[in-house]
């Protein structure tokens, strides 16, 4: 049985150390193309030093949405400007004026070679060239690092190439055809394995015909990456969950690998039903859900959120403090929480203990806690039969009910029941 894989996405370069510290807790790394191009030099040493496979998310969808999402004021953010410069030519000329439109790719039934080729070839080249020593500085730096044995740069290429992609609200939308077309061309443009991206609206999941068409059209690729914009497994109703299960079921039948680009704790559970669902990417303690129209994160200012295994949710610090003060015996026993607990002087099992515990907790530690607990969670999912997992979801619901989590602390847990229903069907 293949374990479900956790791939973490580097949101900002400031997370570099966190990724190094947490190497043992994940299977791969996702780097967004704008980060990759802006920090190209740093990437040549950083990515190999992790000793984990990586892929590059081309982020091309952002060029076809409101450009303000990737701007600061009137100018593109530096990292996106660098990416736009990489594309150059007609794509850059258009983006200096406006977002990409379907008419930039397709006139009537004719594909516009200039734009399509630029998007496809530059997207593929960016990923293949990322770790290639470029200029003399880069070359001598990697030679130097090899001499001093600072790093073992065996990983030179991404695990697979991600095709350029665009968001489509439905399969009848012209962006669907464009998305498929650029993915097909990317697959032809390189000998490497190419994964296509299905970047769809949530509403697509509600239309069985659309779901079938997607599964059929995307079966030609080596694998697919799924991103259902704004899909939130904690909040979305059973019909959306059922639609997603159906889509994964049909893609699984194609016997091609499936990864999610964003997802919450529902996704690893699905892997118990579908053996070709191999993993998902997300941020460390964020990025379970993402809308194509949200502004790109800049880092900083994120509140402290503590992951609670019982409900598979992240609690705001205040709520976590109240809950664990009332229930100190339920504090987590992961490696990170155990080491924090060792420094706590108050008597175990008291509210003062919980108070001191959370005084010692900070933003970075909550993320370390998340990564460690999440790894254990995935390991136990891998070992448990589906029936046991369903029983555990039911048990967690009962426990959450008996603790009156919703009323007393405002902690939601109804999604556990929805997950159980969606997976059982």
């Amino acid at each position: 049985m293949v374990n479900f894989q956790i791939w973490y996405r580097i949101g900002i370069m400031a997370e570099k150390d966190l990724f190094s510290d947490l190497k043992a807790t994940y299977d791969g790394v996702v780097v967004s193309a704008h980060i990759a191009s802006f920090y190209k030099l740093a990437m040549t040493t950083f990515l190999p030093s992790l000793g984990r496979p990586f892929i590059v998310d081309p982020m091309t969808y952002a060029f076809a949405r409101d450009l303000q999402n990737i701007k600061r004021g009137n100018d593109f953010r530096k990292s996106f400007q660098k990416l736009i410069d990489w594309y150059g030519g007609k794509v850059k000329t258009i983006l200096e004026k406006r977002q990409l439109l379907p008419s930039d790719f397709l006139k009537g039934k004719t594909w516009i070679k200039d734009t399509v080729d630029t998007i496809v070839k530059r997207t593929v080249a960016l990923q293949l060239d990322l770790l290639k020593p470029g200029g003399p500085v880069q070359q001598s730096l990697s030679e130097y690092l090899e001499i001093i044995k600072e790093t073992k740069p065996q990983i030179k290429k991404p695990l697979f190439i991600v095709a350029p992609y665009f968001y489509f609200p439905s399969v009848s939308d012209v962006w669907y055809s464009i998305n498929l077309q650029v993915a097909k061309r990317a697959a032809k443009a390189t000998k490497e394995d190419v994964f296509a991206v299905i970047c769809a609206s949530k509403e697509t999941l509600l239309d069985e015909k659309d779901v079938r068409k997607i599964a059929t059209d995307f079966r030609r690729f080596k694998g697919v990456l799924l991103w259902i914009s704004d899909f939130d497994d904690e909040k979305d109703s059973t019909e959306y969950l059922a639609g997603l299960v159906q889509l994964v079921h049909l893609l699984d039948k194609n016997k091609k690998l499936i990864y999610f680009l964003y997802g919450g704790s529902f996704i690893p559970l699905l892997s118990k039903k579908f053996s070709y669902l191999r993993g998902y990417s997300r941020g460390i303690c964020y990025g379970d859900s993402k809308d194509v129209d949200t502004e790109m994160p800049t880092g900083g200012g994120a509140p402290v959120r503590y992951y609670m295994d019982l409900t598979k949710t992240k609690l705001l610090e205040g709520i976590a403090r109240v809950f664990y003060s009332d229930n100190p015996g339920m504090l987590c026993a992961c490696q990170i929480c155990t080491s924090i607990s060792k420094g706590v002087r108050s008597r175990k099992g008291t509210a003062a203990y919980a108070a001191e515990f959370f005084d010692r907790m900070n933003y970075t530690l909550t993320r370390l806690h998340f990564a460690h607990s999440h790894t254990s969670e995935i390991e136990s999912i891998s070992k448990m039969p589906l029936q046991d997992i369903l029983r555990k979801l039911a048990k967690n619901t009962r426990t959450a009910n008996s603790l009156n989590l919703n009323f007393k602390y405002g902690i939601q847990f109804s999604h556990l029941e929805r997950w159980k229903d969606a997976i059982s069907k």
Binding site: G318, R321, V322, S325, A351, A352, A354, A355, D359, K408
Partner: protein
């Protein structure tokens, strides 16, 4: 007939008057982690800190906020417009140890709170420091 809602600020002013009559000082909008407490009533030597969440009608929302205040205050109240008080489940509130103040033309206590047993001293200290600074600034 138009059913006009009272403004939260009006309720807040009446609650403030209630505590001042009981020889408490008050401070509005006191930060607590990523939230802020609508009002803190305190003795001048900080021997007693009371946190109050003021809402016109949504008592459940008020309760969720007020629950957090138990971390930094000796006692916690929710203050609600008298008109919507019939919606409140008083038994639940009593169990949680949260007091209730009914506000109409004036404020009056209708459920007595229990003393918080989950005070996080670092958070209470932050509240006291914030108030002291505000007081110092006049």
């Amino acid at each position: 007939m138009v059913n006009k809602l009272i403004r939260e600020n009006t309720l807040s002013n009446r609650v403030e008057k209630y505590f001042r009559n009981k020889k408490f000082r008050t401070c509005k909008e006191v930060p607590l982690l990523s939230n802020s407490i609508d009002m803190v009533a305190y003795k001048s030597d900080f021997s007693q800190i009371i946190a109050i969440e003021v809402k016109v009608k949504d008592w459940r929302r008020a309760l969720q906020q007020a629950t957090l205040y138990k971390l930094c205050a000796n006692q916690v109240y929710i203050a609600l417009w008298q008109k919507f008080l019939h919606r409140v489940n008083f038994e639940d509130l009593k169990e949680l140890g949260i007091g209730v103040i009914s506000v109409d033309g004036y404020a009056r206590r209708i459920v007595e709170p229990k003393n918080s047993r989950i005070i996080h001293s670092s958070l209470m200290r932050n509240v006291k420091n914030y108030i002291a600074i505000r007081r110092g600034n006049g």
